[in-house]
Subunit: 209 residues, 2 copies
């Protein structure tokens, strides 16, 4: 299988960390988002949505979605489990992963893509052009700060985001927190739950991926 | 288990259809979103995010996310499988489900929540107030129409959204198409792939849920 990646983008990093936690190696193809390689004819055949990550299987099937790729890999190599074991663990891992995506990552994407000069006319990923909306950038920043506080609350009570075991929800949250940092959005100084968790999750070898 | 529902909202309908396809019955509690019951003290204890659906298990654990609830139910009662069987099926079902959520449902939610008079100051669900952004409503409508076209393209080539079997991705897409209809956004008259699929999926008993 072939993994279409971009070292500087948050979404493919989620898959890189997942692969590292599973101990799976994949041939990697770097896509140059800066020069617009994702809009070229060759990459559109891989993913008409013009986004990374994509996992291309040996028979040519392409999975062009972070969660879809992770689910494929989990089914292929169930150990260590990153989506929970029991039904309730599976439900809670997916729930926390969704909350980080919707309230964290998407808010940060709003903040970033609607304010950076280099993304004028590119406020959403994909082949269509959308103008930046400054109010959406401001709303995104406000939501990111609120969600960092919510993560802190949760991580004061729970070692890992979804409970007793490290899971894909922690991977998504780590990528969110680091993405927010790049945008100079960080939790309050007294966010001890978040800090304790961040130090632990960042110390795992997979965090370097 | 107890299912916190709202008959008129799109998100809990996804779970109702899922339950019907699985043949699982759950005690249902209707939450009156119109009168703001979701912001009251009692419901905040069930879900501090103040949203439906929520599935409360017999031991008090609450799963407050559509995908998390569906994953719990899939693990509890694997037949019929609604998230795919083989690894590649599982990857593609999750991928298509994500695409419908991100490019379809969320775009329609932007269109709806940023334009309806009754949702002033409530442009996002949850306990915090966010003002409507008219450009976001316009962008949402444009994206919904584009995504309806994309669904049509896909459904000309594939009986079901993720391949040969009905899946949770079809449920999410049905709820999206019906939500868009309520906002008077429909596919082009010649969208034969979408029409063929819509007639088939709407004829299933679960679509009445």
């Amino acid at each position: 299988m072939k993994f279409y990646d971009c070292k500087t983008a948050p979404s493919p990093r989620r898959v890189r960390i997942f692969l590292a936690e599973k101990g799976i190696e994949a041939e990697t193809v770097e896509v140059d988002l800066g020069s617009g390689e994702q809009f070229g004819e060759a990459f559109r055949k891989i993913n008409p949505d013009c986004t990374v990550p994509v996992l291309e299987l040996d028979d040519g099937v392409c999975i062009s979605d972070v969660l879809g790729i992770c689910r494929y890999l989990e089914a292929l190599k169930p150990e260590p489990p990153l989506f929970g074991r029991s039904p309730v663990e599976q439900g809670l891992v997916t729930m926390w992963n969704s909350k980080v995506e919707q309230q964290g990552l998407m808010a940060m994407a709003d903040a970033f893509r609607n304010s950076v000069a280099g993304l004028k006319g590119r406020a959403l990923p994909g082949p269509r052009s959308y103008e930046q909306i400054p109010e959406l950038a401001a709303r995104g920043r406000e939501r990111v700060l609120a969600f960092l506080g919510k993560l802190d609350d949760r991580l004061r009570d729970s070692r890992w985001l979804a409970g007793d075991a490290f899971s894909v929800a922690d991977i998504t949250a780590l990528v969110f927190v680091d993405f927010a940092r790049r945008g100079k959005l960080t939790a309050a100084d007294d966010a001890e739950g978040l800090k304790r968790w961040y130090d632990e999750v960042s110390a795992r070898p997979s965090a370097q991926a």
